[in-house]
Symmetry: D2
Subunit: 379 residues, 4 copies
């Protein structure tokens, strides 16, 4: 079997990381063909001219079976979608809803969307956070939230998977198993990210000299990923016994009870990759670090990409660089009855391209770590 | 007037920063003379051989009045203490208690101690956190906790000032004015520091390649600076109307009430300097961001080194690099009734050498910013 | 005496560094007043809103004598130039020639230009390197090349000083004294700069993630600073006995002899500040490391800002961070008859704002290090 | 076929990178088994406890076929060498000669040595550079210098391959094809390396705060890798028509002619990985950039890991991060008759572990890029 995959919006950091993961997969399992890469403003350009890490020597065999190596960038409208099996969509939000609406008529196409456009099941929430009405409401019900470890069954049946935001991935992997054990009205999530999290945006605040040797918070008026975290926690609280059986796209409860609110403050770290979240949580009566670790074991046993630190070591983002892994740890807080929980990922890996590949595996009925060689680049 | 100052333990990062501040002061106000610098293992060496940033050209006039520029390193036992007015002590903790006991007989000598040896007023706390009995109990009552903005009057009368720890400075400047307005049982302090905070320790974990491109927490079993923070908060709660009238070295209340406990998690940022603390706080009924800002105004009006961000900007450590300033900000949390508070400092400046100089000014009856030229090095 | 100074183009990195140096000078010698800062596109904005490192606390005394602290940004056309003594011009090249032509009629105004517009005495060279005819030919003869240590006398008499380029400063301080001792046809200058050297340009290649963890050369088709280096060397060769008596703005020799050419390759280092040049030089017969060091002594004795490493230590940019110093060293090359020469500076200090202040001192007849407190920020 | 490989000295950065490459290869071609990893001082410890990037989740399949994943560290004396096919030796130099002497009796064992112990064919050179007599002179004649692209045939027949030094790799890949075209008495190599090049040495100069934001040269008294470069150039000059037919271990010519000497100055870049060399070369009469590029084509056509920049782009170390590739470029120098040549590698990849794997392929008669998936981690 050779899967034909396309990447929409392949010129940014997430698109480039998808290409890297797919290159590795080609070397490992040989079952994918990169059939199309799109970038409207770069149409006609070679991948190597935009992403020079994909320059290759004359003697290279990596894409030797392809006529000219990787395909050139094209407009998405010019792709022969009939022939594509899987589309990874790394377009800006907003645009994505339009494009996926167009692609929907290709019924054999499965889509893994890395944008935010289909992550929130509530139209009101979408409108609140993204400042406009949802542009593809008829498709929202088709979308499954792609937090792989928590929604494997749903993802396996989906045509459209909404890959979570990078912060939302780190935070939810840490929090969802604990939701029934903690006071969900007292969740403080202190998040720190490397600069690739901002994408390749040409803004003065992301110039080297504005970031280097600095550390600061941002998005104090509210970061959009918090909406995914709250949605995930509400779902986990409402269906803690069987998270997978609940559709992530189910409409949120319309009761009058106040919505769950968490504190979430993102910070920018002078480094390329990595997210660490530090969460301060109050336990429900009777719960403990042990019962929380047991909840992790229950949720993540057999999960190839989840690693739980038990020996006093703390998650470190560098140890995950270039991987699809998530490292978790729970410590007793100095305040009795509270705990501190850490979660670390590579924001471009588990937080974007890596989980997208994992979701592809789930959609194809493969082992979730099929075709991965998940060794971190250290140092 | 020319003050004769000595620096004990001048070969580390804090000692070097003291020398830098004193060099600046010599240029600005000309009222200090660096009479002695000690470093037992370097005795006889020139300052420039150990701290090459103090190499000077033949034509330099910076220390031209001194016979040979800066004095050579000596053993502290070999200094003529009778002739010294002010001693900055940047020795390791433990050793410090011994040395200051020896120096105490020079009654005209005033001491500003940058170690941890005299920061905790409770002997039990000291023993708990430092793993041995206090080595100079008879002097503890003489020590004033040198958090300048909060204990100006006491510092002004002290012979021995215990300069706070760097994290403790950042956290307390943010929290002490708010203590009466918040639920002190729900304080979560997420702290991040540049690597100079670890000093010049030769440990594998501080090698360049172990720090660069990483981000992680440390000291999960408890960082000693939390003891200072809790001590400060208890004092602020017990005497919120008049913090300065309360001696910081007052014995803590011996009542049976449970001690205040805060959560404090330090993280290491791949950068040289700077501390940012992000604190998650629950307001008492009736309090608000506005009332908290009013408390800051009340505490810090006229404080030359405290800057309160009001325009939505967030404290940034780079903007404070090389200064003695502290930048504070308060934001409404997403959870009603909670706030997020930021505090940023240069850990070697306000967190060490800068505040030591500020305390020297207070001890001498000068304006607290006398002799400072506090412009950050940006970028 | 209070000097009234203006900074044109104060919103970039060099402008900000000028403000930092002037703030320090105000604290040290109190003889300057920052009367105007211009930035056309920011007119009306406060300095602190554009350069937040100049935010100040309510209690600060740094600019307390000024009505509202620092003046707001204005258009240069709106400045009362009659009242200004010294103008620092940090405008883009090209624009500068127009503006200075306008300012020239204020006969008491002295101008220190940090742009490239008046650095090259040959109009042909200017046109070659900057792609257009010189826009103020009548003023070029007035301009003195502001390499302080080599043209003190001329600078002292000038109304218009052309501050050298940052690379040209580092290279010429290393090479000019050696020009008569080396084979000037075999000069290879390998230069490395921190990212502030590129200014605050909003280009994708200067984004954090494009610079961090990378190292590469640039400007292979020719960096403009090489023209200054070659001009300086030709002048040094033509007048090696008395470099200061030769006007730097003298027309270059019109003989038919081939022009001197040096190799100069700049590289970008993932750090904020600093330039290191490594030059590979072939000695003339009879010359040696010793005779080269003697040439340095001859050129730089009494120079407050030049430091010559003699003990085997190598120049390091970090040791100069925030200073106006230049560190030089000469080593025997492995190839007999060759030497390796190092030169390090802070590109924003000695390479821009620091030397501008030094030139101001020379123009005013002051000691060249008057009002400096030149201690590096380490670490 | 399953190859059983051992890594001696696996706890350093090169050893860790070998493990990473071998993990990838297991995923790709499945033909290797990591049978033993040694580290005398860590014997008994798990790999994950020393190199936590190899921690794995319970569900991981990466080493699922091994009884307990990776073997524990052992003493090299305790390995069953009879059962090992390939030994990678990443021990300190000196020690290596002793250990390999012991291992030599296992006649089916092939050894790829990453230390410097067998790189220099001249005993005199070895003694000069390493300060003691060669400890295994009887084996030196067996050793083939493992610069893969230049000695493929010899490597294919060797039992002992001496993997080149990282700088020597970068420099020789750039220079060897050009040796007949240039004036080899005028070679200046300006080299820059990331900090992993120094290994995991616990020395104050490699602490984060001593490296970060600095740039400086080192080893001015002579870096050992220059000996390899000169040896390689002499060989290339002596046998430019058929470099591969000349054994790299051939005794160097004993004639009285002066030895070739090149200038080589290494610098430390504040980044983890990567080497860039910038070489300043004088062409022989009649040669040009074009003829030099033709020499590259001649040497490197069909080389899977060599990439020649032709479009004006310059080699960049970040684009090679984590790969075994070398990027080369040639530019005309500003001085007629000179060229500037760039070479970039990942010092832990092509400069150590990557080329070791490539050499293993050559020794096994496989394609040299068999089992590689050589996609850089960018950003």
């Amino acid at each position: 079997m050779s899967l034909r995959v396309a990447i929409l919006g392949a010129s940014g950091y997430s698109g480039a990381e998808l290409l890297r993961y797919l290159s590795l997969r080609r070397a490992i399992s040989g079952d994918v063909e990169i059939a199309a890469v799109t970038a409207s403003q770069r149409a006609g350009a070679s991948v190597a001219s935009v992403l020079p890490q994909f320059r290759q020597s004359a003697g290279s065999s990596l894409f030797a079976d392809l006529p000219n190596g990787l395909p050139k960038f094209s407009r998405w409208q010019d792709v022969d979608w009939q022939s594509i099996d899987i589309a990874f969509c790394a377009l800006p939000h907003g645009t994505t809803q339009e494009v996926i609406t167009e692609l929907w008529r290709y019924s054999s196409l499965r889509i893994i969307d890395l944008s935010a456009d289909f992550r929130l099941s509530s139209f009101a929430d979408y409108e609140h956070w993204y400042g406009k009405a949802h542009g593809a409401p008829q498709l929202q019900g088709e979308a499954v939230y792609g937090l792989s470890e928590h929604f494997r069954a749903s993802i396996g049946k989906a045509r459209l998977v909404a890959n979570p935001g990078c912060y939302a991935t780190a935070a939810q992997l840490a929090l969802l198993p604990l939701a029934p054990l903690i006071d969900c009205s007292s969740i403080s999530i202190d998040a720190k990210s490397g600069v690739t999290g901002a994408g390749r945006s040409l803004r003065e605040e992301f110039l080297y000299c504005e970031i280097n040797e600095d550390f600061r918070a941002y998005s104090l008026s509210g970061h959009r990923h918090v909406a995914e975290i709250e949605q995930g926690l509400e779902l986990a609280l409402g269906s803690s016994a069987s998270s997978d059986s609940a559709s992530s796209s189910a409409s949120s409860s319309s009761s009058d009870q106040p919505r769950l609110r968490v504190s979430f403050v993102p910070h920018l770290v002078p480094m390329d990759r990595g997210i660490l979240t530090t969460s301060y949580l109050r336990l429900r009566a009777g719960e403990s670090v042990s019962s929380c670790l047991a909840a992790y074991d229950n949720s993540y046993s057999g999960s190839a990409f989840i690693e739980i630190c038990r020996d006093g070591s703390v998650p470190s983002v560098k140890l995950l660089r270039g991987t699809n892994r998530c490292s978790l740890a729970i410590f007793a807080d100095r305040r009795p009855g509270w705990i501190v929980v850490f979660s670390a990922i590579d924001n471009l890996g588990k937080g974007a391209a890596g989980m997208a590949l994992q979701n592809m595996n789930l959609m194809l009925g493969l082992e979730e770590d099929y075709g991965f060689a998940d060794t971190a680049l250290v140092p």
